[in-house]
Amino acid sequence: MVVYIIKRLLIAIPVLLILIVSTFILMYAAPGSPFATERGIPPAVLANLQAQYGLDQPFHIQIWRYVVGVVTEFDFGPSFIYRDQDVNDLIGQGFPVTLTYGFWSFLVAVIVGGSLGILAAVRHNTWLDYLAVGVSIGAQVLPNFVLAPILVLTFTLWLGWLPGGGWQGGQWQFVILPVIALSTSFMASIARISRASMLEVLTSNYIRTARAKGLPMRRVIFRHALKPALLPVISYLGPAFVGMITGSVVIDIYFSTGGIGQFFVASALNRDYGVMMGITILLGALTIFFNLLVDVLYAWIDPKIRY
């Protein structure tokens, strides 16, 4: 197990380096400049600016400096637009917000989705099952950027129960709508996956044996059926995590929550290369790390897997 974890970590390092280098090359190749203005800057000033940010150096020196800065000091360099802040400051501002509603969304999606799916399978072909299937099909066609306006329309404009945006340090009223908008489609997927796998498990021979022994249904489900039924859900957690990170961009824009997604799109429009690269690398690293975590969890739970 330990060997496996170490091996996976060793694979993660080159992947991360490839990500850093390729985003840097992309940014380097990009036309346009963060310093371009409508009036144009005198060449001397521009040269000074570029020297200030190290943009006058040859390519290999720039990329070496950047990679070394990121790897050794976790320094993503300066922002080219917000002159008094560097990328770390912006990420430091936005990341706790993203993490807060992301964490809750993930929890809601897994717990609500998982129990909905299990319940639907246990009560197969009852109204509960149909309800769960209906909800998950409905949620599938409502990705977060569609759901967000509908939620605001309903709960803010018509009912007036919840604020339609803002963060206010993460008070609960401001967290609810972003969490619902972000978690619903993943909740639906998890419900569908766990229902299908639970149905499969419940018809398997060892469950029939357990029931034939006269074990109460509750015990059969929790002790025997639950663990194997949740394995496909665990392998879905990786893609769900990536999807939620992507969706956080919509949440940040739509609800003005101030997470890093907001900075990402703003920097994309402003050609603020430093911020874009910083956020891409940070999220890439997070994704790689999370996938590692999921794989380890899977290997730990599934006795069939030997590494």
Binding site: T23, L26, Q140, V141, F145, V152, F264, V265, A268
Partner: protein, 305 residues
């Protein structure tokens, strides 16, 4: 004696038994599935809307109705008299024409994205699965690496760096969409590889690439088609997501995501039709693809028989 003879005569006179191919079987199963057929009809209607819409729309999608401008909440309502069947957008442009145009772009992106993924992914997966060993290992590691990158951010990066255009959108979506398909095709190829007819092909000296193209890929088609129908809606969602962020196709071109975004930002002004018209087409199309995909899976998946 007589009885036997008549049976024999009957048999001789009867029309030869018609074999049912896999595809005829699948078609019959698909047509029995009501939800799938309804989904297919919805999709055909949406396609007809995208194709015929421009011919019947009284307004052009770029023209501004100056009578409406400044008074969109009242004058821009959906009505038959003004010719704005779906109303107008905030700038006084006819929403029917714009929705038609957005539908064209969204469907195009969905179908082209799925096509790229089918072609690249199937070939890649089949090659990796067929050759196996080290080639397989390296090829699938590459897929793993690409999968662990938050591709949406890379796609946005690409759009920013190389400029926003439909071509760039296709390339960007094509770059990421084939990964899942490659995995599925590889898994399926691994099970096909052991089949006797592949062995026979190898034994008669057919070259590997001919085997892949002639014997492996046709047998992958069932799985690939099912997955491709489910891929089209996810491509549409990707594109809409990008457009929602304002990074997709550029005005005056539009797409469902861009229209939904426009409608959502005008929600406070009592002009709900701007949100509802594109949302309606978006939702029914996704429903249609999901139902057709499920129906195809039930019809083609040999496991469920």
């Amino acid at each position: 004696m007589f009885a036997t003879k008549s049976v024999a005569d009957d048999l001789a006179g009867a029309a030869p038994v018609k074999g049912r191919s896999l595809w005829a079987d699948a078609r019959a199963r698909f047509l029995r599935n009501r939800a799938a057929v309804a989904g297919l009809i919805v999709l055909l209607l949406v396609a007809a809307f995208a194709l015929i819409g421009p011919l019947i729309a009284p307004w052009n999608n770029e023209d501004i109705d100056w009578n409406v401008l400044g008074n969109v909440a009242q004058g821009g309502r959906p009505s038959l008299e003004t010719g704005h069947w779906f109303g107008t957008d905030a700038l006084g442009r006819d929403l029917f024409a714009r929705t038609v145009q957005g539908t064209q772009i969204s469907l195009l992106v969905g179908i082209v994205g799925a096509l790229i993924s089918v072609i690249v992914g199937t070939l890649y997966g089949a090659i990796a699965g067929y050759f196996g060993g080290r080639i397989d290992n390296v090829m699938m590691r590459i897929v793993d690496v690409l999968m662990s990158i938050p591709y949406m951010f890379v796609l946005i990066l690409l759009l920013v760096v190389f400029g926003r255009s439909l071509l760039m959108l296709f390339i960007g979506i094509g770059l990421i969409s084939w990964l899942d398909m490659a995995r599925i095709a590889r898994g399926q190829t691994l099970t096909l590889k052991g089949k006797a007819y592949i062995e026979a092909a190898v034994a008669t000296g057919v070259r590997p690439f001919t085997i892949i193209l002639r014997h492996i890929i046709p047998n992958l088609l069932g799985v690939v088609i099912v997955y491709a129908t489910l891929l089209v809606p996810s491509m549409i969602i990707y594109e809409s997501f990008i457009s929602f962020l304002g990074l997709g196709v550029q005005e005056p071109l539009t797409s469902w995501g861009a229209l939904i975004n426009d409608g959502a930002s005008e929600m406070n002004n009592g002009t709900l039709w701007m949100l509802l018209a594109p949302l309606f087409f978006f939702v029914i199309t996704l429903f249609g693809f999901f139902f057709v995909g499920d129906g195809l899976r039930d019809a083609l998946d040999p496991k469920d028989r």
